[in-house]
Amino acid sequence: MNRFILADANKCIGCRTCEVACAVAHRPDGDVTGVSAVNFNPRIHVVKGGDISTATACRQCEDAPCANVCPNNAIRREHGFVHVLQDRCIGCKTCVVACPYGAMEVVTHPVVRNTGAAVNVLVEKAQANKCDLCYTRPQGPACIEVCPTEALRCIDRNELEAMSAEKRRRAALDAGAQLYS
């Protein structure tokens, strides 16, 4: 089962530190001073409503709609998450439309491409951006590391099972006891 990042809305204070950490962690140079409004593309997003502050990111679906609809087979399940192979991405945005969580975004960045005739031109390269659990980062997801209130967790099979067990227990013992009373 894929792991995924989950935020606890009871702990989130909406500070957006996770967004900055994400944007920095996904820069090839890892340099915070290189971030700007133009290239600020975090893969985790803080959402604030009237009563909720929380962060949202990809759920790493087991049967991922983004992967199913990708016309160029750029998205596949590997390394324990839903992985976008950026060199195959054509920026068609079908995955963005398909994702029920709004966790996928297509962003562009300028790259130098050799046309083959010894001419280098600057072109916009598209990239389908989503949480990759910082899989190349030895310390694991950057957002979890920086959250000041420990509101972010990486949920795996065991933790999900523990959460469900706790809910079953509560449902059975609290509500169940009253059923026949």
Binding site: I13, R16, E19, A23, V32, A37, D51, P148
Partner: protein
């Protein structure tokens, strides 16, 4: 504050009044969240549904400017429902009868209209606070930045005294300061009436002690208190202050009623600004003294819980900059008083010798990132995490806690049909103070940038024909600025909120003073404004951008055209 920040986690009840931790101090907000996880009751009083209000047991959404009316109703409830700690009040406090004289007209039912809080909620809040095993009252600028700030603080302290919530673990009063190291500035005597260590300049014995240490004649020391920061522009306009030396402050950005500050600074004969980056204040300076930034030097900070912490240099300073104390030493020497220090520790040890409450806090004891809270009078003393454990309140000779409150006064500038909205100035998490530092941080700029924002409830915005994220005019009797409307369902209807750090959407062009008579803190939490939509948004975008670019160009040209010091110091 009388408690420690880490002790806040252990309290059974947090009573949060006019303090938005999530935006002002995320690191303190973390303590609030942890206390909540550990089962503490949380009661929040704020006009906005702040992050803490989301996780609170009770949220009292009071009207802006009604703090004192609400607190008087709290005191009324404690007394009328006999929720107060009779034994504690009898043994350790004074002024109970006077308290009732003031609050007798503030029954929760009587102040419902003024505060906007249902009487049942007010009563329930006090039952929770008084019933808790231990409780901490936390407050911030939402209390102090009003014309009645000092009186309101005293009345909050009365709540703690009435319920015996002082002097023990998890119980106390916790004013959380506006800026990093404000406590340190006060500790160091950056107040007009005090030497370092809270020692009065009016006391001849104290003056003599400092004069002796500094090798000067005590008769040369000025026995009169100086003036407070917010009064300087006025005194300059009256011709009573001729020269102003500003270190690390940007009053053109952070003080209320910018146009009056501007006139004051223009009236000076000499303005010296010592800072790390260009600001609107530095632009007006006759002399700019470039100093090292926080990462380029070491030193000691004091946290708002009286805790001293050493910090260390991270990078070597570049270009022509000097340490703040080095600049002071050089100026003192030029003015005829040879001053010289070799390092931080020499200054710190001089301070310890002169300030009994800091004497035991040696460099060695502070160690690497240690935290020692004053008072710490002897070398063996471990510091004082909790104040008043002996329940002696030595500010008065009797040693008894003073139960004080006052009649509620309305804010100075109420709304009118022409200016129908309340403007309150607030903080946002990504930017610090005047933004001279965080505005230069690319990632924080990416989160929020010029021309800034005005938070408004969507219902108010729709009435005014304003779209979310559209540029709007915000106008008061003192000026008008352009900024971006930011729809926010958590703010109360009838009030709008701006952060004071923007150059373009500069809310202090709009605010008014109505200073607290004791602290001279302006009433930046309340003035009357109106919002106007702008039809031509393309024009507005380019206009806002133009103001920003012009200001940047002006600041750049000031630096480029500045004459370097003629004499090498």
């Amino acid at each position: 504050m009388s408690v420690s920040l880490d002790d806040i986690e252990n309290s059974k009840c947090l009573f949060v009044f006019g303090y938005n931790g999530a935006d002002s101090h995320p690191i303190v907000a973390r303590r609030i969240v942890k206390a909540r996880q550990k089962g503490a009751k949380i009661v929040v009083c704020d006009p906005r549904k702040i992050e803490t209000a989301r996780i609170a047991d009770q949220f009292l959404q009071l009207h802006n400017g009604s703090n004192m009316a609400l607190i008087n109703a709290f005191i009324y409830t404690l007394i009328e429902e006999e929720l107060y700690d009779k034994e504690f009040v009898a043994k350790y406090t004074e002024g109970f009868d006077g308290l009732w004289d003031v609050v007798k007209d503030y029954a929760p039912e009587a102040v419902e209209a003024a505060t906007g809080v249902p009487a049942a909620q007010i009563r329930q809040a006090m039952r929770t606070y008084a019933g808790a095993e231990s409780a901490v009252i936390m407050w911030g600028m939402g209390v102090t930045q009003y014309g009645q700030g000092t009186e309101t603080v005293k009345s909050l302290a009365a709540l703690a005294l009435l319920t015996g919530n002082l002097g023990r673990a998890g119980a106390g009063v916790a004013p959380v300061r506006g800026q990093n190291n404000v406590q340190g500035a006060c500790d160091m005597g950056v107040l007009p009436d005090l030497f370092p260590g809270y020692q009065s300049v009016a006391d001849p014995a104290i003056r003599e002690k400092f004069a002796k240490a500094w090798g000067i004649d005590p008769a040369q020391m000025d026995p009169e208190p100086g003036v407070r920061l917010s009064l300087v522009p006025h005194l300059a306009m009256e011709g009573k202050v001729k020269a102003y030396y500003i270190m690390g402050e940007d009053p053109m950005q952070t003080e209320a009623d910018t146009s009056s500050v501007r006139k004051g600074l223009e009236a000076l004969d000499l303005l010296v600004v010592q800072d790390i980056f260009m600001t609107k204040t530095a632009e007006m300076a006759d002399v700019i003294l470039p100093a090292t930034s926080w990462g380029e030097h070491s030193g000691v900070y004091t946290c708002c819980d009286r805790g001293f912490q050493r910090f260390y240099k991270a990078v070597e300073p570049k270009y022509n900059v000097k340490r703040d104390w080095e600049i002071i030493s050089l100026i003192a020497t030029e003015m005829g008083y040879p001053m010289h220090y070799d390092n931080d520790q020499q200054i710190w040890d001089e301070l310890r010798e002169l300030c009994p409450i800091y004497y035991g806090v040696t460099y060695e004891k502070m160690g690497e990132l240690g935290h020692i809270q004053w008072p710490c009078p002897t070398l063996e003393h471990p510091g004082t995490p909790i104040l008043y454990t002996d329940l002696k309140f030595t500010a008065v000779a009797s040693g008894k806690g003073q139960l004080l409150t006052h009649q509620w006064r309305k804010p100075a500038e109420l709304t009118t049909p022409d200016y129908p909205l309340v403007l309150s100035t607030v903080r946002e998490v990504g930017h610090y103070s005047c933004r001279s530092m965080t505005g230069n941080c690319a990632a924080l700029k990416a989160l929020a940038d010029e021309p800034g924002f005005v938070q408004i409830h969507p219902d108010n915005a729709r009435q005014l024909g304003i779209q979310d994220q559209a540029l709007v005019w915000v106008e008061s009797r003192r000026g008008k600025v352009i900024t971006r409307a930011n729809f926010n369902e958590r703010v109360n209807r009838g009030a709008v909120y701006m952060t004071y750090q923007w150059w373009v959407g500069a809310c202090n062009e709009l605010t008014q003073e109505n200073m607290d008579p004791v602290t001279n803190t302006p009433e930046t939490k309340y003035c009357a404004v109106t919002l106007k939509s702008i039809d031509d948004q393309n024009w507005a975008e380019s206009h806002a951008e133009q103001i920003y670019q012009d200001l940047k160009a002006r600041l750049r040209s000031v630096v480029e055209n500045a004459k370097p010091a003629a004499v090498a110091m």
